[in-house]
Symmetry: C2
Subunit: 426 residues, 2 copies
Amino acid sequence: MDPDRPHIVVIGGGFAGLWATRALASSPVRITLVDRCNHHLFQPLLYQVATAGLSSPDIAAPLRHILRKQQNVEVRLAEVRDIDAAANRVVLEDGGKLEFDYLLLASGATHAYFGHDGWAQHAPGLKTLDDALQLRRHLLLAFERAEAEPDPAKRAAWLNFAIVGGGPTGVELAGTLAEIARHTLTNEFRNINPSDAHVRLIEAGPRVLSSFPEDLSGKARRQLSKLGVEVSTGIPVTHIDGSGYHLGDEFVAARTVVWAAGVAASPLAKTLDVPLDRAGRVPVASDLSVPGHPRIFVAGDLASVQQDGKPIPGVAPAAKQMGRHVADAIRARLQGKRAPDFRYKDYGNLATIGRMAAIVHFERLKLSGIVAWWFWLAAHVFFLIGFRNRLVVLLNWAWAYWSYQRGARIILGHDDEDQPRSTRQA
Amino acid sequence: MDPDRPHIVVIGGGFAGLWATRALASSPVRITLVDRCNHHLFQPLLYQVATAGLSSPDIAAPLRHILRKQQNVEVRLAEVRDIDAAANRVVLEDGGKLEFDYLLLASGATHAYFGHDGWAQHAPGLKTLDDALQLRRHLLLAFERAEAEPDPAKRAAWLNFAIVGGGPTGVELAGTLAEIARHTLTNEFRNINPSDAHVRLIEAGPRVLSSFPEDLSGKARRQLSKLGVEVSTGIPVTHIDGSGYHLGDEFVAARTVVWAAGVAASPLAKTLDVPLDRAGRVPVASDLSVPGHPRIFVAGDLASVQQDGKPIPGVAPAAKQMGRHVADAIRARLQGKRAPDFRYKDYGNLATIGRMAAIVHFERLKLSGIVAWWFWLAAHVFFLIGFRNRLVVLLNWAWAYWSYQRGARIILGHDDEDQPRSTRQA
């Protein structure tokens, strides 16, 4: 590639970074896309991997493969250590250095425990494929431990599942977990009845799915109850440890607590040395560049953008739009023009709840129940990257729907809390 | 379940243990099937997971699910610590104890490094799904490391792949790896040409696939060469470390060495306190019981059985036949009859080599090349457990064949040798 072309470094191969990179396909630039994972992840379906409905490769595709035909891109599997904004340089953990003409920082978000970092080990979150596989292992093992436990109180604690956070991920996890307990595992155990499992969704605020209008939020709550989920709103979790959690003053013995509440920006934002918002995100200018650093852009979950007095939500469509906008802005700058202002176009909002249950809000259109679920299904299969993935995912879903089964109920790897693994049984 | 029924304990949910359990479905017994994994694994396709062609759930099904309708079975996810043959008791790592009337020990085999246990960390083997995922990660990372390596000699070492052992697993891995390097990764890298990768299959004996007739073995070797694999026979590997291996006196720099050579019986055999053969297997009586312990049977890879002066091979059909035989033997004993003698029926032998390349030997029928490959494909898809798996696997294969792509090229988890993982890029 022509080394005289301007060099664009993109950090993060999520929706923002990948869409920006693709939008620059025919521009006279060199792009280096850096990610510490080798794959783009279709994060909206991550909960399906955590609940054994899909396997990891169904919702992930290698970045190199997606971009193989785009000759102006080099993909680099590496961890970023530091951004030297003054020197226009990115420093990698492996010692490599990338000098840039323009930088897009799109490294996304991670879990936040609101100052209770000790909760992390007892209440894992869900952001990466590794998180999802760890959660899948934990959920499946909980039923196994219950089956082997003679003490009724201890057994009940293994069958007590709490999900903290009533946003889309929490709702999806709770609804799916209830389905697994009530339908998927039927007849498989001899000492427990899996449908004795208790699934509780905990939201400190007044209602679940608070980004939706109040009536849809209420419908979502009723659909969750119908699926067997107990919904607790208005009381915060005050403590989590290995034996259970406190909801306000009440202690509940539970061996599984899943964290779907807090999101914090990637710590890379700190290396920019600019003021951040409370969640650690970078407040950006109207063209998505960093104030004081016109060659650096931020997009996706890491960007803090207000529009018409409201924050732009951390959802995939917003990240894609921001990524494409940054590509436009860089092209404008290269031509000596002023970069345009970013304007988020809200196409609507949809959330799935469980088997045949979802809510949809598109401008004046409000749907819930089966119709909303079909809508959600079609949208998600359509947006999955890669022909093969779409077909396999559809097939898996068709099979899951018909049989109530989940194809990926395989316990892999090893928790430290579990029995030691030896090479005894092959 | 009626606690007065005779209690059969089966250790291991592989082909031998699972087939024995299913064959006892309508017998008036209680069965406890103990396995440290929650799934039955279709081991003949494990190399496809290691080479990113299939994902784990495609070749594994939860034991509980397979056996959910068989009311006389309880599945127990546990590690076995000890077998007390005198007291007819199995002791579990979790402290549980299982008293048995009859025991089937079918815990299979693991890797053996012929006394060089230090090689294990540099040359991982392939027996479990965890092994396969670790190998997949290593293979995919090798190309990534090569891409990032400026030093030509170090880069070549990352592109040097050695597979030790010319049996079916070694041949399958070598052929598939050559295809990945030559076809799958085309156009994806900017600094390396993946087809510069060098794949070498090393067999200390005189020929690969030595369980086949000499002419088929020669055809397999020619098919491997055509796929781009260098086949070395007649020289043993004398040393392996993190930088490479010695073949006889020659040192070869290679960052990837895969162990497909030695198999040793599960260490559980030792707790029986009977004489074992050189590989640690249990020499059994003609009815597959352990001499001196008529209530204990051994089947599958752990059993050492001679027939017509030849050892019965460690393949899935033999394990299934042994498992079914043990079920017959236990039924006969319960009726006060003498257990029948086991007789292995050899239906033939088949091995796949790579894209459209395989060999088949069924009595007088000898096939190689495309016809043999279709034969192999049909047999393996047919024998995969579970409707959903068959369809998904077929679909994945059709797609892989049409596109040269492999759907599961996702790097998960973390090797200690790699860069430290932090929460920087989300």
